[in-house]
């Protein structure tokens, strides 16, 4: 396969050509479905670059020391002095780093790559080594958006982005087949074509600095960026370089408005903010909030006495079945019509703490710490307990003082008692299963607006902790997985918006669906940690079997409690300001052994902040 022969995707090819002409263009990200040729084309990028240009691929399983560089064990032991082994970043200097499925690379590693790129050098401060080397490179990467989004921060670093769709025209698809299996057809591979292209890009390069950029073009570029709400100033600069490279490619001596327009979609598509939508919603609700300030004030006073509400469920246990079957609800609760409520106000959520378990895992994310099973993750300390991962620095340090006594000749003398091993730790995301009550009672007094706001806030937290999310809605006699497990919090947010309200409350069906989902995922990836978030007012009034509602919930809860690596949180959406409170959700929470929160409890914890800052005062000034 050659670059010139690659069928279709002219914008992607143009993006690569422009980058080959000028590395200032800042790299390309290809976003598209699997099997559509992203990787193939990216690898062909090499054919356009001068032969000596480094082109390094980063596999997803790369470890920190391979990426950054680390201590060279063999040399160090042989020579008895610290020897540095160069990492990927060093090899990539002056060239290209290619990452397939970049959205699956762990956040820690991405942060390290971006840090080095931003600085133009790699600073190594690890395992007793302190040195730095230049590391200037552009990133070419591909991703499949179905498997999770990329942070806007990372997106911003890419000069260009191409949305990649599969080819639809039949004749092009036939072409692709022929090219893919070219040995079966007439071999029309034209190696010369790529040589020509390489030559052409090489010729364009020295022309760049002589290309004029008129003042009105600069003005046009900035105007376009402001018009498109581009945050930050990288966009402006990348647009300038792309336009200039394009003029060079077209053989012009001056950048024209048309050149800017041609490359504009490549540079600006991915720079619009992900959070922009959210911010707009925030603004919409600003007015509403001003009005409700008064209410919130009274709310806070009530909050002073939350104990009595929680520990004193209104009903004794024995008559609760009856209570659930015929909830003491006013007429309006059973309003039959369906309604879709908008998202309410979002807020910063409190910090949930989950106990670190002792399982060694391969994982990624930012929520809870876990010991790592592979050689990935942060090397936290050296330990004596043997495993495969030798901590060479600690071992050498342990051996070093005894070399004289041991009468060292050439190589370092390391005895068994010197051996130290690495304890590594990394943070992992959970799979957060949102089980949302979509029954009619949630629509009373527009409670669903606030509830959706709360769920959205939790989703933002999930994004920051790099959790996977899944969503189950129960209403009208059944529970439905509206979102199978995904890393795309954005998608979850979209689904959330569309949840309609109406019908009875089959709470046990929702829990059972969650149970099945967790079981399924556990079979596939047994180390997953789950967080089941049940959002409901607890007014269950529909069962899936013949058993009474309450009994059924208890049975399913018992099943759920047996699941490994699963934490439970119940968010009670009942309006606690009202005179009559049922606190039914609290009962469900105790059956599940779940942590229980009202929506207000979910808000970032002011008390905890105080305790923490007092603590630091004690130690500090």
């Amino acid at each position: 396969m050659t670059f010139g022969n690659f069928v279709g995707h002219e914008d992607a090819k143009l993006a690569l050509i422009l980058n080959a002409i000028d590395f200032n263009c800042g790299g390309v990200l290809f976003v598209g479905e699997k099997g559509s040729g992203k990787t193939t084309l990216s690898r062909l990028f090499r054919n356009l670059l001068p032969e000596e240009t480094p082109f390094v691929e980063i596999p997803l399983n790369v470890t920190e020391d391979v990426l950054l560089g680390g201590i060279d064990i063999e040399e160090t032991i042989q020579s008895g002095r610290k020897v540095f082994q160069h990492g990927i970043l060093d090899r990539a200097h002056g060239g290209v780093i290619y990452i397939d499925d970049i959205n699956l690379l762990s956040q820690e590693l991405i942060a390290l790559i971006l840090e080095a790129q931003g600085r133009g050098e790699n600073i190594i401060e690890r395992e007793g080594l302190a040195l730095k080397h230049p590391a200037r490179f552009i990133l070419v990467a591909s991703m499949n958006p179905e498997e999770g989004a990329l942070s806007p921060h990372l997106l911003d670093r890419f000069g260009m982005c191409v949305l990649w769709e599969r080819l639809k025209e039949p004749f092009l698809r036939i072409e692709v087949m022929k090219k893919a299996a070219h040995e079966l057809f007439i071999n029309d591979e034209d190696e010369d074509q790529d040589k020509k292209l390489r030559k052409q890009t090489a010729l364009c390069r020295p022309l760049l600095k002589n290309i004029k950029i008129p003042g009105e073009i600069e003005e046009y570029i900035t105007a376009k960026c402001i018009e498109n709400y581009i945050s930050g100033h990288r966009g402006d600069l990348f647009l300038l370089y792309a336009s200039r490279a394009y003029s060079a490619f077209c053989g012009y001596e001056e950048v024209t408005q048309k050149h800017v327009d041609e490359v504009l979609p490549l540079v600006l598509t991915h720079r619009k903010r992900i959070f922009q939508q959210m911010e707009e919603q925030q603004r919409e609700h600003q007015e509403e909030k001003q009005q409700s300030k008064q209410d919130e004030h009274t709310d806070r006073q009530e909050q002073n006495d939350p104990q009595s509400e929680k520990t004193n469920p209104e009903k004794p246990h024995n008559d609760s079945d009856q209570g659930m079957d015929n909830p003491d609800t006013p007429l309006k609760e059973s309003s039959p019509q369906e309604e879709v409520f908008p998202l309410g106000n979002t807020f910063k959520t409190r910090h949930f703490v989950f106990r670190k378990d002792r399982l060694n895992r391969i994982a990624s994310g930012r929520r809870t710490k876990t010991r790592s099973k592979d050689k990935g993750g942060r090397y936290v300390k050296s330990i004596l307990q043997p495993r495969k991962d030798i901590a060479i620095d600690a071992t050498i340090r342990a051996a070093a003082p005894y070399q004289k006594i041991r009468d060292r000749k050439e190589t370092l003398l390391i005895y068994d008692e010197d051996l130290r091993y690495r304890q590594r730790e990394r943070k992992m995301g959970h799979l957060v299963v949102f089980v949302v009550d979509g029954s009619g009672s949630m629509g009373v007094q527009k409670r669903m607006i606030g509830t959706k706001g709360a769920v959205q806030s939790l989703l933002v937290d999930c994004y920051q902790k790099r959790d996977k999310v899944s969503m189950i809605v129960f209403r009208k006699g059944r529970a439905e997985v509206v979102l199978p497990p995904t890393s795309s919090v954005e998608l979850a947010s979209k689904r959330l918006r569309d949840i309609p309200i109406g019908g009875k409350t089959p709470l046990s069906a929702g829990l059972l669906e969650a149970y099945n989902l967790i079981r399924r995922v556990t079979l596939k990836s047994p180390e997953t940690r789950f967080l089941l978030l049940l959002i409901t007012d607890g007014r269950a009034n529909q069962s899936i079997s013949k058993a009474p509602v309450g009994e059924e919930i208890e049975k399913v809860s018992r099943l759920l409690r047996e699941l490994k690596f699963t934490d439970y949180i119940v968010v009670d959406t009942e309006d606690k300001k009202k005179f009559i409170k049922t606190d039914l959700a609290f009962r469900v929470a105790s059956q599940l052994g779940a942590d229980y929160y009202t929506i207000d409890d979910l808000k970032a914890d002011y008390l905890a902040d105080i305790v923490q800052s007092k603590k630091s005062e004690l130690f500090g000034v």
């Binding site: 690890r126 100033h233 005062e617």
Partner: protein, 338 residues
């Protein structure tokens, strides 16, 4: 080659925040929050060029202040020789990379020395080089928890105490912590947040003219860095001269009870923890007035200092979000100025 500080367009608060910390390092650092691509990192790295010289003990790897707390080595030398020689050294911006390991941060046993001589010797880490310098953490909210713990530990004490691998060592570790972060990527732990004396928020510039100027300067710098630096050199010299003068002037500026009263007026009407905010406002108001070449602290110095010192300390009550409290602050500061 580093893009020069004086060539950064706009973002005056951020630039002032950095400069004030050079003038008075005891202000306690700066946190720069903001969206991507707004010259946060550029500004911090560019600061290095403007830093003045400080007096340090000659040949000390810990930058000991001859008149301050000394490291084990200097103490020993002082005991043996009765005096310490000193020299002048330019302050630096020491970077803390995200991939740092514990041993490199606090320091550890010097392997090579142990191998060659069979003796244990302490090999200084980043905290040692950061003593009396700027310590810069890019994306500080992404720093690993166990590294943050170590950082907080020595930030609180101003001392790094190492007890590992048979080594016992103590050295001063007073650094000016500068961090940048993009809040979209996650929060900062409250203890760490409180460690930053000042905090600024940066947003991208929306003015067309300024935006064009940014584009033009960056493009020129990319293509002809040397010429660009030469063209800027006199401006750079002027600014570092101005900073040195402000440092000299600093101690001659009197802080009257009247001024203290005005500061306390501000802090009392807001809901703030502890007394650190008062102290930070006082120090930065003094540094500001020195930078503005005045002999006394004026109303607008206090106001500007307060807005730099308070934004990250405003308490967030569970039912109010940060914006209402910051509106309150703005209105109080507005009154202060009037």
């Amino acid at each position: 080659m580093i893009f020069p500080f004086t060539a950064i367009v706009g973002q005056e608060e951020m630039k002032t925040g950095l400069i004030l910390n050079v003038i008075d390092p005891s202000i306690g650092g700066l946190l720069i929050m903001g969206e991507k691509g707004t010259a946060k990192s550029t500004a911090v790295r560019a600061l290095a060029d403007l830093l003045p010289e400080i007096e340090v003990v000659k040949e000390c790897s810990f930058n000991c202040d001859p008149n301050g707390f000394l490291c084990n080595q200097c103490r020993e030398r002082l005991n043996n020789e009765g005096h310490l020689h000193s020299e002048r050294k330019k302050m630096r911006v020491v970077e803390l990379p995200l991939g740092v390991t514990e041993d490199r941060l606090v320091g550890t046993l010097d392997i090579e020395h142990a191998l060659k001589k069979g003796e244990k010797r302490f090999e200084p880490g980043i905290l040692a080089s950061a003593n009396r310098n700027f310590l810069y953490v890019d994306e500080v909210n992404l720093l690993e928890d166990h590294i943050v713990d170590l950082l907080l530990d020595s930030a609180a004490m101003g001392v790094n105490t190492v007890e590992r691998e048979g080594i016992s060592f103590t050295h001063p570790a007073k650094f000016i912590l500068v961090g940048t972060m993009n809040p979209e990527e996650g929060d900062l732990r409250p203890q760490l947040l409180d460690r930053f004396g000042l905090c600024v928020r940066v947003v991208s510039i929306q003015d067309k003219g300024e935006r064009m100027e940014i584009l033009r300067r960056k493009a020129t710098f990319d293509s002809h860095p040397e010429e660009f630096l030469t063209a800027r050199s006199s401006e750079q010299r002027n600014l570092s001269g101005k900073i040195i003068m402000a440092k000299d002037r600093l101690n001659s500026i009197r802080i009257t009870d009247d001024i203290l009263g005005k500061i306390v007026d501000i802090t009392c009407s807001l809901n703030l923890d502890g007394h650190r905010p008062d102290i930070v406002i006082m120090k930065s108001a003094r540094a500001l007035s020195a930078y503005r070449e005045k002999d006394t602290i004026e109303q607008n110095d206090i106001k500007d200092a307060a807005s730099l010192s308070l934004s990250h300390r405003l308490k967030r009550l569970p039912f109010e979000d940060i914006s209402s409290e910051s509106e309150k602050m703005q209105s109080i500061l507005f009154r202060t100025q009037a």
